[in-house]
Amino acid sequence: MELLTQSYLLLQKDLRLELRRRDSLLTMFFFGTLLLFVFHFSFDVAADKMAEMAPALLWLAFLFTGTLGLAQLFQSERENHCLDALLLSPLDRGALFLAKSGFNLLLMILVELVVMPLFWILFNLSSWNLLPQLFLVTLLGTVGFCVLGTIMSAITLRARARELLLPLVLFPLMIPVLLATIRCMETVLKTGTFNDAAPWLRLLFGFDVIFLTLGVLIFDWVIES
């Protein structure tokens, strides 16, 4: 598919750039880990309480870390008029959207792969066997975050106080993802299966599909020179 080929090309470009300097990745890693420490000092609770709060705290960490990534997302395009060059090329804008959200998704997945086990270690949680399922839910949530976040990152590109504005417009819209992901993870931790969490999963999946499609369709209007 033409769209996917173009997206892949653009994604490769960003990956190559990132592999060279690893700016975004390292900052996000560090910030995610830092937040775990901050949580330790902020929440003086018993270990089992911490286990209950794990999904929520994890997702707070991911939310803020991901926002860091989103703020950086179009940085390479802003320099040297790269954005204009991209827009002049016959590339489908939807491909740009897929590439950028895919890139942020990859960054976040890498961070999550490290931070989640780290959380389990630092807070002495025992439910290691459930990590794969929990990671799956996190993945679904992260997709929703990246998809909506990329659109928001793009429309706030030229705004003043952008670092403040981006979370301001993004977070309220993220509430379904936040609720669905955290509640789902809590259910999995409590019962060990996905059964009771089915409606949340459906909501999450629906959210991802809706905004992924929407993003591809409307990105033409989102990015203007």
Binding site: A159, P176, V222
Partner: protein
């Protein structure tokens, strides 16, 4: 649609007067004619404010959506003006809805605030559309601001059902729905005077809304023209 907007723009004064009359009648009906509620007493009269406010806010957000979509499609300034005006009014009416809900909640639930589904949802709406207004004010280029806001206007509106679902599930999955909820309209066994009060109040709110909307729209339109003239006249 354009014809209606034209008419509303020109006959603002009449609209305003009509609105005032409807509101006055509504107030009389809500406060004097309608009987006090069997369970909640006179406090229930706040419903004649609360329901119309939230419905007007929803209407406003729908207009933001329509204006945003039309603007992205046709790129006509007037659609953007409509979206902006509707967003501002939407924020006003949502804020009022929350205040009314809070005041109603104190005597009925005992607290000024509770994270029940309705109030939470209304608060989220307020956040979304305040964000919309902030986005507009923080982007200097007019056309970019309009496009960016239009995207947010569309996405925000489409997200609302999802937010609605998630908040409702969260709040009802583990808690039994309370019997006495200030926002539940008791359609069975409702006294006809109460229904009339509600309808008249709603009409009053709608007329006030369209009156204010027409004013706000015109202000936006004038500001547009002022900008253009300033450029032309070299001021």
């Amino acid at each position: 649609m354009a014809q209606t907007i034209q008419t509303i723009k020109q006959r603002k004064g009449i609209l305003g007067a009509l609105a005032a009359v409807a509101v006055a009648i509504g107030l009389y009906w809500s406060l004097a004619v309608a009987p006090p509620d069997a369970y909640q007493g006179d406090v229930q009269r706040i419903m004649y404010l609360h329901l119309p406010s939230i419905l007007t806010a929803y209407l406003s957000y729908f207009l933001v959506f329509v204006g945003s979509a039309m603007y992205l499609w046709k790129r006509e300034r007037r659609d953007d003006l409509l979206a902006h005006a509707a967003a501002e009014l939407g924020v006003l009416f949502t804020a009022l809805t929350i205040i009314e809900g809070s005041i109603w909640g104190k005597p009925t639930w005992g607290v000024w605030w509770t994270w029940d589904a309705r109030l939470t949802l209304t608060a989220i709406l307020l956040l979304i559309y305040t964000g919309y207004l902030m986005l507009r004010s923080l982007i200097d280029d007019e056309n970019r601001a309009a496009s960016a806001a239009a995207i947010l206007g569309i996405i925000g509106f489409l997200d609302i059902p999802l937010i609605h679902m998630s908040v409702y599930w969260w709040r009802t999955l583990h808690q039994p729905p309370s019997i006495l909820r200030p926002d539940k309209a008791p359609w069975e066994n409702v006294h006809p005077a109460m229904l009339t009060a509600l309808v008249i109040s709603f009409v009053g709110f709608l007329l006030i809304y369209f009156y204010l909307l027409s004013l706000r729209y015109r202000v936006g339109e004038m500001r547009q023209e002022i900008k253009t003239l300033r450029l032309e006249r070299g001021v």
